[in-house]
Amino acid sequence: MSSNLLAIFYLISGILFILALRGLSSPETSRKGNLFGIIGMVIAIGVTFLSVGNFSTGFLYVLIFLLIGGSIGAFIAYKIPMTAMPELVAGFHSLVGLAAVFVAISAFLNPEVFNLGSPGNIKIASLIEMSLGAAIGALTFTGSIIAFLKLRGIMSGSPITFVGQHYLNLALGLTLIGLIFYLCKTQVDTWFWIIILISFLVGVLLIIPIGGADMPVVISMLNSYSGWAAAGIGFTLENSALIITGALVGSSGAILSYIMCKGMNRSFFNVILGGFGGTDQSFSEKGKEQKPVKNGNADDAAFLMKNASSVIIVPGYGMAVAQAQHALREMVDALKKNGVKVTYAIHPVAGRMPGHMNVLLAEANVPYDEVFELEEINNDFANCDVAYVIGANDVTNPVAKSDPQSPIYGMPILDVEKSKSVLFVKRSLSPGYAGIDNDLFYRDNTLMLFADAKKMTEDIIKSL
């Protein structure tokens, strides 16, 4: 196959990947979009096979390894519970990163195959591209591993900070640039390995100071990095499918990071520099004196909701932890039988990754046209009888609107307090991730339901 024809096929798969993302603009078109993505991938792999041409023993090994990886991937995809999706995505990012590193290494060791020159005399541009690809890939790999461990709960979600952390990162970043420069000048392979090692370290250092609830930003950011790494390798291999995909994924991750930061009213750097939650102790102590709360049980909650004409459900990370989405759906079904109008309100940063709550509700067979984003539904709270807050906290805290001193001041919140009554399912009065007390607990129209989210919801179903 001529290289021109090959390039055209790679372009076609690039276009199919664009269509795959385009399909996600609505759930109806999304399934077709995914199919386009698969076709694009099949074309890319197929024409690569044809271009190599010699169907030798090596080719057999390629197929075997492809099948090994493929079956592992397929197995994971079918087994993974929907609540573990954030970890899965972080894990997948780490694989893209490491694959980019490996491809960069083989290109470095065997540059003739990719027309990049010969060992010790690689084209400068290619050297820059492959070391950038390898460096970004390497930090995506270790960063995603840390994110994975934090999401999985193997590593504590609390931020790890130490003195001079940011200066160290800055110094390492500058060192990397210096090393890439030096590598181009000397072509000595030791520098290439050191670049990769330092990038592994940078990945770890970048993610450890970021706390659990900032994970939506971290995951989106790593998504973006994995794209830039792929694009770097795409330049090295002169492959347009890889360049197009890298750019798409890179900008996709960047946009998601932006949306997540905006959902918390924090700047990107504020999140990256980390350490939220540990520093605000003095603030949270202030409101800690015992204020009266109204304590309710499942019967009260069932009574309130049964007699309401409209109920808005506000799910948060606590729902995911308690795996309460199925019980919640059953409760809503029971309410609907009583003629209650029920909708769901999702805050952009609810959960541990973008769209986390939507996937869980979809898993529990909640129709997606009953689920609304913050801007769509926020005005409805004023007309709703009951807001059922299940596992969310900071995203409902009215202090974000009223107290400029608060660390979450200015963050867009769901106007839960405007509804006639609020049912707040929570295990205790403890403050949320941001370490601040939620004013909503002490309002007259709030009824606290102290229990596990799933157990409480099941009890309410019984009383309905």
Partner: protein
């Protein structure tokens, strides 16, 4: 004067960033999780580089260091391709509209 092919690739890259920007903004927020898993899958098109790397060099010695890294990258990327597309499919299959007959 001839234009360096690098400039063409750079043009593709920059234009794709713009396409990505507009396409991703049009993705509905409720599908942000499938967006991440499908971008995972498509960025594993890096496997084409891995395949070329694995098959490079002398056919007599298919397990040179450079080839081994290629084979390892094939496994990693394959996990991602199959895992990414299938899990996306699984998620998207769950998004249903309200049934009218209820």
């Amino acid at each position: 004067m001839e234009i360096d092919p690098f400039v063409f690739r750079l043009s593709i890259f920059i234009l794709s960033i713009f396409i990505g920007y507009y396409v991703v903004w049009s993705v509905t927020p409720s599908l942000h999780t499938p967006l991440m898993s499908v971008t995972n899958a498509i960025s594993s098109v890096i496997i084409v580089g891995a395949i070329i790397a694995a098959l490079a060099g002398n056919p007599g010695s298919i397990f040179d260091t450079a080839n081994i890294f290629g084979f390892l990258a094939i496994i990693l990327a394959a996990v991602n391709i199959f895992g990414g597309f299938l899990v996306t499919q699984r998620m998207l299959a769950m998004y249903k509209k309200k049934k009218k007959d209820k």
